[in-house]
């Protein structure tokens, strides 16, 4: 048996020469990599510069929030909820507060409802601005980051005055909000949205319509509508694929039924429906819609208390509930099982980022490594929410 003439696994015979068969290169992206937006490790298999496979490894920020929640009273869970998606803590708190209020049958005062809409939509803008800025950096445009963070700073300063913290607020409480908003702060929000609307249009025309940016994002990381539904994608990722689904419209919560706004969907203007540019554009349009909602909330806000009647020691009646809300990154669901005690028996959080990470293996094959960075950026994950 002459093994000399045979092509074995790692050797190929070309003519009379024996050459090494080119193998797939394994590249570890992360956990400390600026383009993975936190501590995500993606194991990429590349054939020269083309990505063949991507395997995400999670858990570097895992704190087992759900176990913590089982040992805390219902109010004490709120600060932990903040630390999941630390870029959109207001939305996280609102979802949790709604879950408990629905079980308790608490009525939230009108003024508190309006304040919740105001802070949630401002938070949505702040969160999308982080996406906008860091996505620019991912693609090599540094300047936009500085502009976005300047505007975000104004929102954070306002939140700091409202709640005492810049990022992890503990502001939306079960039954209402912690502190009232002053007329001066409302006037500042009006001034901010008036200025920001003009600025945002300018940023979009500078970045989104830029030829290099379109070249880097159009037709890259395409997710079809069927794939998005199959993988359970929600939020801007689902809407970027052309599915018109927004919980604020389709399953209204809070007082969103009073507001008039549109749901942005990806239309494939610069390339295919569901590419990175579509997801980017959906977020930009959402910021404009948030401004629209904020203006209506500023008009409609009325005087009154900001805290409803809640017992000092909260005991949720035995039963279960699944409540989902629309957060900047997608749907956030709380599945609460209560046995009638002072602490949750089981609190499961459905994180949208977690499902979006599971879509990386279908986006990656066939891409250049640099385009893969654009794909990760476009699903806008926060690892605090992925790992919880």
């Amino acid at each position: 048996m002459s093994s000399h003439n045979e092509n074995t696994e790692d050797k190929i015979i070309l003519g009379d020469q024996e050459v090494l068969k080119s193998d797939l290169l394994t590249l570890n992206m992360g956990p400390q990599h600026p383009a993975t937006h936190g501590v995500l490790r993606v194991e990429i298999k590349t054939d020269s510069e083309i990505v063949v496979d991507a395997i995400p490894h999670l858990g570097y920020l895992h704190r087992c929030f759900e176990k913590h929640a089982e040992n805390l009273d219902y109010r004490g869970v709120i600060p932990f909820v903040d630390r999941m998606d630390y870029l959109a803590a207001m939305n996280m708190e609102w979802g949790y507060a709604l879950t408990i209020e629905k079980m308790l049958g608490t009525e939230v005062p009108k003024r508190a409802e309006y304040i919740r809409v105001l802070v949630a939509e401002l938070q949505r803008i702040a969160s999308h601005l982080v996406f906008f800025g860091t996505y620019g950096i991912d693609l090599g445009a540094f300047t936009v980051f500085l502009y976005c963070f300047e505007d975000r700073e104004e929102i954070l300063r306002l939140f700091e005055e409202l709640s005492g913290a810049r990022m992890l607020y503990n502001y939306i409480w079960i039954g209402g909000v912690w502190n009232d908003i002053t007329d001066d702060q409302l006037a500042r929000i009006t001034k901010f949205v008036d200025r920001f609307e003009v600025e945002l249009a300018k940023y979009h025309s500078l970045v989104g319509e830029n030829k290099i940016f379109i070249g880097r994002t159009a037709n890259v990381g395409v997710v079809t509508a069927e794939q998005a539904l199959d993988y359970g994608a929600t939020g801007p990722v689902l809407r970027g694929s052309g599915v018109k689904w927004d919980l604020r419209k389709n399953r209204t919560y809070g007082i969103y039924d009073k507001f008039d706004f549109d749901v942005a969907v990806g239309k494939g203007e610069k390339g295919t429906v569901g590419d990175c540019w579509d997801r980017y554009h959906v977020r930009i349009q959402e910021m404009f819609q948030s401004i629209k909602i904020i203006r209506q909330a500023l008009d409609g806000i009325e005087e009154g208390p900001v805290m409803g009647k809640v017992p000092k020691i909260i005991k949720v009646p035995a039963g279960e509930i699944y409540m989902r809300t629309e957060c900047p990154r997608g749907e956030l669901g709380y599945h609460l099982i209560s046995d009638g005690g002072k602490t949750p028996y089981r609190l499961k959080v459905k994180s949208s980022c977690f499902t979006h990470v599971s879509m990386l293996p279908i986006m990656a094959p066939g891409q250049m490594v640099a385009d893969f960075v654009a794909s990760i950026g476009s699903i806008d994950i926060v690892l605090g929410e992925v790992d919880r």
Binding site: L58, G59, H62, C64, E66, K67, K102, M103, L104, G105, W178, N179, L229, D230, Y231, G232, V243, W245, N250, R251, P305, V306, M307, K309, V310, P311, K312, I313, I314, K315, P317, A318, G319, E320, I321, Y322, R324, E331, G333, H335, I337, G340, Y345, R346, K348, K350, F354, T355, V357, S358, D387, R388
Partner: protein, 211 residues
């Protein structure tokens, strides 16, 4: 309750998947959601039927999660239909099993790809084996971690890779010290926090019967 949507789903399931024994669990205190329990052995057929039925079309799998009770483990499949705007909590009961003999249930990755990560997380946290999963590993804990943290009887392992888990010297007591100092210096906590000041004066009665 055949008029409610859950009633219709139960009727549909019992007709299309014989032997699945679908029953409604009505909410205990008349608040919250009701759920549907089916036989664990039929879960794959039930999921297929729910997804491909023209009437309900549950096209999105939101979450797979488990809950540990004293005598059983309940797996919850939370499904949603984006075309019919429905939501459903589907449950299956399993024995608790033990460390070497985890409870088994069929994987539904072939129905929704979203189940891939969700089942891995449920295995990691609760300890349920999903039979037929294409890539069955832990996901959040390290791959060689011992135990399943969200079981009620879980005890943290003492050593992981020769490192002491949760060493007492690393416990941060600064918060407790801060609270203790405040109490000594100021006394009444109502004076330092704004949280007690507001319009909840009429709440005292409610608080008394709460505790």
């Amino acid at each position: 309750m055949p008029n409610t949507i859950q009633g219709q789903i139960v009727e549909f399931l019992n007709k299309s998947v014989p032997g699945c024994n679908a029953v409604i669990n009505a909410p205990i205190a008349a608040v919250g959601d009701s759920s549907i329990t089916v036989e664990a052995a039929n879960i794959l057929e039930v999921c297929k039927a729910l997804k491909f039925s023209a009437e309900f079309n549950f096209n999105v799998l939101q979450v797979i999660t488990g809950t540990d009770y004293a005598d059983r483990i309940e797996v919850s499949y939370i499904l949603a239909s984006f075309s019919k705007n429905l939501e459903l909590i589907l449950k299956a009961k399993l024995p608790r099993g033990d460390k070497f003999n985890l409870p088994k249930i069929n994987s539904v990755v072939s129905v929704w790809n979203a189940a891939n990560f969700q089942e891995r997380e449920t295995y990691d946290m609760i300890g349920i084996e999903f039979v037929g999963h294409p890539d069955f590993r832990r996901i959040l804990c390290p791959y060689d971690w011992d135990g399943h943290p969200l079981r009620k009887d879980y005890v943290v392992q003492e050593k992981y890779l020769d490192m002491v888990v949760d060493p007492p010297g690393k416990n941060n007591t600064a918060d407790q010290m801060f609270g203790k100092r405040l109490k000594e210096e100021i006394g009444d906590p109502k004076r330092v926090s704004a949280s007690w000041k507001d319009s909840t004066a009429g709440e005292e009665e409610v608080a008394k019967d709460g505790e």
